[in-house]
């Protein structure tokens, strides 16, 4: 590969269009979005008090009325019609947007968000700022993406990469805060049900707007439109929800009857564990912890043997090599837990920490939240399993949590022992995880390596 030629100059070298006057045709909301929002974010309950969707920082003064108004309007969108004369017609030419049908995209699908941070504050600089991410989670028409969006991008479009530029959703809330922590996910409302509601309303409200209903953008898959996007990533289904008493977390299926999770999710040997697969129509399966590392071990790992085989689950292929900078995905039940399926967040493998040339810790830029522990870290391109998520980062001085700096146990540390246990039932390999060398413990305590002890000159 060589250097690519410079791209042609972008249109930002030309002056910005003047604002065009427009009329409000209607305000619309999606009832399903509101229902799922109430269910996921628990409106009216204690859970709701933990969630905030304000665009203002937590230190900023926002009146309760303002915040309540923001919450009321969260799932509402406005259909406008720009007034333009014949002289502007040439400028108004261009392709109509195609719309992705609800449910057509799977988690992990790459998305492109296009919005204008701070709205009309300074469009010369901020108009149509782009942000990349993936479809992280879905609950009916309520979608979540890890594409980072800013205040003012409410209403901005979120598009597919393949087929290019099909409209998936509109930004409903760019920022989510849970218990004062920035979650790093953007809340979206699927476009398809919104446009269906708009079509119905335009037909019924006024005869003058009825003709517009037929001219709203078509959904993909319709005979005249673009083909549907490709099917989803099979490795997402390897993540399972693990419940052990009152504690829950994530896990990854390593064999049809073997699940790996974190010790802090399933800490006690022989403890009963309920494993909930994510594939449709599959039932929960009981299992028990056959091995959990000791508290003193830096590797926070537990192994669960299931009473029955998990059927139809794609067992991931463990990697043998790590490539810093490669695109990776974390799958886990963070943030929402049992309320909906696992979330997929994307990023890169930001660091591979080695001791004596052996990888002992992985770091990623994916957003990782409480409840993701034990979940898998995958290579996005190959789907190979890279590691098991162990934690994100908290600054004990400020109390701030950093979801985009997180730590995983390399699968190369676990794979030989897991294979040995799978084939022979011998726990010897796993027990070695309790006796790792001090330099590895130092890494996981986030300490500097100890300097070599100076030799006495006596």
């Amino acid at each position: 590969a060589g250097l690519e030629p410079s791209p042609p100059a972008r249109h930002r070298s030309r002056p910005l269009e003047s604002p065009h006057p427009a009329d409000l045709l209607l305000l619309l909301s999606c009832p399903d979005f509101r229902a799922h929002f109430a269910c996921l974010f628990g409106s009216g309950s204690e859970a709701a008090e933990q969630w905030r969707f304000s665009s203002a920082a937590r230190e900023e003064e926002v009146s309760e009325d303002e915040e309540e108004d923001q919450l009321r309007a969260l799932g509402w969108f406005a259909l406008l019609r720009v007034r333009h004369g014949l002289e502007e017609e040439a400028d108004m030419r261009g392709p109509a947007v195609a719309v992705v049908p609800l449910g057509a995209l799977s988690k992990g699908t790459p998305l492109l968000a296009c919005g204008t941070p701070f709205g009309s504050f300074c469009p010369d600089i901020f108009l149509n700022t782009l942000s990349r991410g993936v479809l992280s989670n879905t609950a009916g028409p309520l979608l979540l993406t890890d594409a980072r969006c800013l205040p003012g991008t409410e209403g901005g479009g979120v598009f597919t990469v393949r087929p290019a530029g099909a409209l998936v959703a509109l930004v409903a809330a760019p920022l989510c805060w849970k218990a004062h922590e920035w979650v790093g996910l953007t809340l979206l409302c699927a476009a398809a049900p919104l446009l269906r509601a708009a079509r119905d309303a335009l037909r019924s409200l006024r005869p003058s707007t009825a003709s517009l209903a037929a001219l709203l953008p078509p959904e993909l898959g319709a005979p005249w439109a673009l083909p549907l996007p490709e099917p989803g990533l099979p490795w997402v289904a390897a993540a399972v929800l693990v419940e052990c008493g009152t504690v829950w977390g994530s896990g990854v299926v390593m064999a049809p009857r073997l699940v790996v999770t974190c010790r802090h999710v399933a800490p006690c040997k022989m403890a009963r564990v309920l494993v909930c697969p994510t594939i449709p129509k599959s039932s929960k399966i009981w299992g028990h912890v056959v091995f959990a590392t000791q508290e003193t071990s830096p590797y926070d790992i537990a192994v669960v043997s299931l009473e029955k085989e998990l059927e139809g689950v794609h067992v991931p292929v463990p990697t043998e090599h790590f490539h810093e900078g490669e695109a990776v995905s974390v799958v886990g039940f963070g943030v929402f837990g049992q309320a909906c399926g696992p979330s997929v967040t994307s990023g890169i493998l930001s660091a591979v920490v080695r001791v004596d040339d052996t990888p002992v810790m992985l770091q990623t830029t994916c957003a990782v939240h409480g409840g993701s522990s034990g979940g898998p870290l995958f290579s996005t391109s190959s789907g190979d399993l890279l590691g098991i998520v162990a934690s994100n980062t908290r600054d004990n001085n400020t109390g701030a949590t950093y979801p985009h700096l997180n730590f995983s146990i390399p699968i190369t540390v676990l794979q030989p022992a897991l294979q040995r246990y799978s084939q022979t039932g011998d726990l010897g390999g796993l027990q070695e995880l309790d006796h790792v060398a001090e330099p590895v413990r130092v890494v996981w305590r986030l300490q500097r390596p100890l300097a070599e002890t100076p030799r006495s000159k006596l």
Binding site: L24, A96, G119
Partner: protein
């Protein structure tokens, strides 16, 4: 990898716009703005967030949480509602840059 995103980027930028709402003849009353999507350029149809219209609702914001409210007609907002839509191309004009202070934004040295 970059080429994979280019067509979507181009189409996304073509569809993107910014919408502002203010009271006719009362610029001092402030304005509200958000992003939007141009659904059809030829028809001038734009979809944007409804939050910027909350201050203009004749019946107040509570109408948005009424159980049966899923659609509100255009005349739900007061007659003084003044809407504007702006789209690309853009220019990083010096005039734009000097306005940063209005929102309290600045560029702290990192």
């Amino acid at each position: 990898m970059r080429r994979q995103w280019e067509p979507a980027t181009r189409l996304g930028e073509q569809a993107g716009c910014v919408v502002s709402a203010s009271r006719a003849g009362q610029p001092e009353a402030g304005s509200w703005s958000c992003s939007g999507v141009i659904l059809s350029r030829s028809l001038g149809l734009v979809l944007c967030h409804g939050g910027i219209l909350t201050p203009f609702l004749r019946a107040g914001s509570r109408v948005l949480t009424q159980a049966d409210a899923t659609i509100l007609p255009g005349d739900s907002c007061g007659d003084d509602l003044c809407l504007h839509v702006q789209w690309g191309p853009t220019a990083a004009s010096p005039a734009g840059r000097v306005e940063w202070g209005r929102l309290g934004l600045c560029m702290p040295q990192c």
